[in-house]
């Protein structure tokens, strides 16, 4: 193969010369004639195995593993949504006492600031929980796949 980026024709000629020389120095080797016979003889010595049954079992195991992973993923999603909702509700309930505490600093804007703070904390907690849950589900999935 000639290098397309070669600028000078002399360089191209050298590259082509090297290419031809390498092609001559490394001709494809002939495959040994007794390779196939050796393989067939080795296979004939292999103990008889019911491949069909083995393959069916493997397919069944594979399907079961995938179903288990899907189930775990759905459960993780449900848990994440529930935990997030509970957390946001709890934070929402804390707005009133929080706005009392913030009133000396923000006057009339205290409920809005408290709401905003609660929202921020809720979002952060929710994101952390979600990330953790999915990380757990992912590593369990990998463990399941490996086993």
């Amino acid at each position: 193969m000639i290098d397309k980026t070669a600028t000078s024709s002399a360089e191209s000629v050298r590259q082509a010369g090297l290419n031809a020389a390498l092609a001559g120095a490394f001709p494809p080797p002939a495959t040994p004639s007794d390779l196939r016979a050796g393989v067939l003889a080795a296979i004939a010595r292999e103990p008889a195995v019911d491949w069909q049954a083995q393959r069916r079992n493997l397919q069944q195991e594979h399907r079961a593993a995938i179903a288990k992973l899907n189930q775990r993923y759905l459960r993780s999603c449900r848990d994440a949504v529930l935990v997030g909702a509970c957390l946001l509700a709890a934070l929402g309930l804390s707005i009133k006492p929080l706005s009392h505490g913030l009133a000396p600093f923000f006057a009339n804007a205290a409920p809005m600031v408290a709401g905003f703070m609660a929202l921020c904390v809720g979002v952060l907690c929710g994101a952390a929980i979600l990330q953790d849950l999915f990380k757990d589900a992912g590593s369990e999935g990998l463990r399941g796949a490996k086993s």
Binding site: R14, A21, A23, P28, T31
Partner: protein
């Protein structure tokens, strides 16, 4: 170039249908030469390469029921063969035995003729390729074994085509520089090399 998945669709169909013997026959017809050449680039020795190719094919036979089609058949076949070659290489290095082939290689190296001699250009070039880093040497050798197809080499060694091209580009630059230092820079005037 035909996609590996399309090329081996007939073999995969047979595996799925449970006709493992038929699938293996086709697989052996299609891959035995490639596997032998792959083993040869790893092991540097025809007898060892034949043994490794044979063992790889037996391992493929044993693993055939577990092929689930997630990777292209060729990728799977080459991965099993490469892994076996690496195992062979590791045990070869551990034993560091003075096997017949090793002694022969040493004798050849000691008896290496003067590279200025035009009749030994092929030998000189092979020696220079031997001096390249292991992966680059494998890629260069396979590239010429596989009729200069970057795509085939990429499949065989499991590296991206861009990486193969980079290795080839660097190898050519190194080889040209080495030839220049040996006073063999006028490679375009070399006579046709062959075994």
């Amino acid at each position: 170039m035909e996609k590996p998945n399309e090329r081996d669709a007939d073999i995969v169909l047979r595996i799925e249908a449970g006709d493992l013997t038929g699938a293996f026959d086709l697989l052996m017809q299609r891959y035995e030469s490639k596997l032998y050449r792959l083993c040869l680039t790893f092991l540097h020795d025809r007898a060892l390469a034949q043994d490794a190719a044979q063992e790889s094919l037996v391992r493929l036979w044993r693993a055939l029921p577990r092929y689930d089609g997630r990777a292209a058949l060729s990728t799977w076949v080459y991965a099993i063969t490469r892994n076996w070659c690496l195992t062979c290489l590791a045990s070869k290095r551990r034993t560091v035995s003075l096997s017949e082939s090793y002694v022969q290689a040493e004798v050849d190296a000691l008896a290496a003729p003067d590279v200025q001699d035009a009749s030994d250009q092929g030998h000189a070039l092979r020696q220079l390729v031997e001096e390249l880093p292991e992966t680059t040497r494998r890629i260069v050798t396979l590239f010429y074994f596989e009729e200069q197809s970057v795509a085939h080499v990429s499949e065989l060694v499991g590296l991206a085509q861009g990486t193969i091209k980079t290795h080839l580009f660097r190898a050519r630059a190194v080889l040209l520089a080495r030839l220049e230092s040996l006073g063999l820079a006028e490679i375009e005037n070399w006579t046709q090399i062959g075994d």
